[in-house]
């Protein structure tokens, strides 16, 4: 369980997060949605201790993120950032293998290799395994980064806009993989999405943010509603039900 209590965050004089409290139970997919600049990435950075906590507290399975040793946290939570930079002259399988670092401090056992192979398979990277990262397309690189985070084998997976650069096929594949991981392995996934319909189709719960505050929280069926979406994104969009699932027609 991720427990966020009264977290506020500021960059210099600007308040970026205002008194956020949120509990994410173990298991399932939670989608974080909201307009640009709402504070989604900031919140993920705080949960994953990439930013230092200023006010409030965050615990993961009871471990406070600000005082637990970094090594220990790396076995509990993995993060994919929105704008990961990747060092060059690295092959895809090497990068994915780095995900095992918290477990063996760099020495790959047979088991580690098996997990790396499985991650490559899972994200359809087996054919690209020996390519240099810098020779990949944006979407292929994004998949490699997701595979690396998955390879870390943590119970909690934070993904900041993992669908960036992915085509329709791979966006759907990735969401299905995440659904399978959550269902079969009991992993807890927090994912930032801009496509509200992906959130509606795959998430168990949607949390909406705006201007550094949580403004809506509920199951997709509750949240995909014209009024609520207007309060989050600032314009009205019709919501239709297709095959029993709500679909927002945001492009019209």
């Amino acid at each position: 369980m991720i427990r966020i209590e009264n977290v506020s965050f500021r960059h210099g004089p600007t308040n970026i997060l205002h008194d956020i409290s949120l509990t994410i139970p173990k298991g399932g997919i939670t989608a974080l949605v909201g307009p640009n600049g709402a504070g989604k990435s900031s919140l993920l950075s705080l949960i994953s201790r990439l930013q230092t906590l200023q006010e409030g507290s965050i615990t993961i399975d009871g471990l406070p993120v600000d005082t637990t040793p970094n090594r220990q946290l790396a076995k509990v939570i993995a993060i994919l950032r929105q704008d990961s930079i990747v060092a060059s002259r690295l092959r895809v399988h090497e990068l994915v293998g780095f995900g095992r670092f918290p477990h063996g401090r760099g020495r790959l056992t047979e088991e580690d290799r098996a997990i790396v192979g499985q991650s490559l398979q899972q994200f359809d990277l087996a054919d690209l395994a020996d390519r240099f990262i810098e020779t990949l397309s944006g979407g292929q690189r994004q998949r490699a980064l997701v595979a690396m985070a998955f390879c870390q084998g943590t119970d909690y997976l934070l993904l900041d806009e993992p669908l960036n650069n992915l085509d329709m096929y791979y966006a759907r594949e990735l969401m299905r993989s995440l659904r399978a991981i959550a269902d079969e392995k009991g992993k807890t996934i927090v994912i930032v999405l801009h496509d509200i319909n992906q959130a509606g189709a795959y998430a168990d719960r949607i949390v909406a943010m705006k201007d550094g505050r949580l403004i809506a929280d509920g199951a997709p069926a509750e949240l995909l509603n014209t009024d609520i979406l207007e309060s989050v994104f600032g314009f009205r969009m019709p919501v239709e039900v297709v095959d029993g699932k709500p679909v927002a027609l945001h492009f019209r």
């Binding site: 990439l50 970094n70 090594r71 790396a74 990961s84 930079i85 002259r89 995900g99």
Partner: protein, 313 residues
């Protein structure tokens, strides 16, 4: 594949070492061999310390163009040396045991370098800014160095003046033992950290996510880099572009940035260029004092090339 290339590189370096020791042996063979061995030991230490410190420095700063010497670390070392003379006075300084003195200089450099660079590396700073800071540091410490040189007694000045420019021909053999210990310990620490270095290369955020404590790790690595820079600067004087040349060549030879391969590859490339070059200049070209100039020239070209290629990307 990289392993095979590493083997060839090792053989090439070994060949250079053998040639250095054996070509043109004349006269009192035992005596000449002894002299050559001492010089070889110094060249090997310089190769290893420059190669390893440059690889680590590039990994920590996240780019291929910066080296410790481009960031002015060797200028800082010379400044520290001058500062010690200034504080202790030439007589006191000259009277000190060279190994002891060297130890003090190493510590001064480690403290100054970490104090200056750490604030910049807490987060990774943009390369242009780092480069600019390096140029400014370099100029600043060279100026402070000459300012102190003017302030101190001319006799004192003679004590330090000797070691202010690179000379691969005339190495300081009196520091060999202490420098050897530093180089070996430094290389061993770097080797043990090879996997951590792979992770550090991914940047502060990814490294933190993978369980590396960024500030502590980077501080340790910077201390290591400063100690190694002190070794090479003390033995042969400041070298600007040799490290850059060596790492750029090694990286292309082994075609990977994994430190388990790159660290030994860079060290072997350095040995190949330095010991091989020294042998060539000494025996074939008959003028070994120009090696430093040639190496710096080639390294400078690589620097420009990397800048041009990098800026076009």
């Amino acid at each position: 594949m990289p392993d095979r290339r590493l083997l060839y590189l090792g053989l090439a370096a070994l060949l250079c070492v053998a040639a250095f020791m054996t070509i043109g042996l004349r006269g009192n063979i035992g005596f000449v061999l002894g002299l050559r061995a001492a010089k070889l030991a110094a060249l090997l230490q310089v190769s290893v310390s420059i190669a390893v410190s440059t690889v680590i420095f590039q990994t920590v700063t996240g780019n291929r163009i910066l080296t410790p010497s481009i960031m002015g670390l060797d200028a800082l070392y010379l400044f520290g040396q001058m500062l010690l003379v200034f504080l202790l006075g030439g007589m006191g300084y000259a009277a000190l045991d060279p190994q002891f003195k060297f130890g003090g200089e190493v510590l001064v450099l480690m403290a100054l370098a970490t104090g200056l660079l750490l604030p910049m590396l807490r987060r990774r700073v943009d390369m242009g800014l780092m480069l600019l800071a390096g140029v400014i540091f370099g100029v600043l410490f060279r100026s402070l160095h000459s300012l102190l040189a003017r302030l101190i007694d001319p006799n004192d000045f003679a004590v330090v003046q000797g070691a202010s420019f690179a000379n691969f021909n005339d190495v300081r053999t009196d520091l060999l033992v202490f420098a050897a210990v530093l180089t070996l310990v430094g290389a061993a620490i770097a080797w043990r950290a090879r996997h951590v270095l792979d992770i550090v290369a991914l940047g502060p955020d990814a490294a933190t996510g993978l369980g590396v404590t960024w500030a502590r790790t980077v501080t340790g690595l910077l201390l290591l880099v400063s100690a190694l820079v002190a070794v090479s600067t003390a033995l042969v004087g400041p070298v600007a572009f040799f490290g850059l040349l060596v790492v750029a060549v090694a990286e292309r030879l082994v075609d990977t940035r994994r430190h388990a391969v790159l660290l030994p590859a860079a060290a072997l490339t350095a040995v190949f260029i330095l010991v091989g070059g020294q042998t060539l200049f000494q025996h074939a070209l008959g003028n070994s004092s120009t090696l430093g100039v040639v190496i710096e020239f080639a390294g400078g070209l690589v620097f420009l090339l990397l800048l041009v290629l990098g800026s076009r990307k």
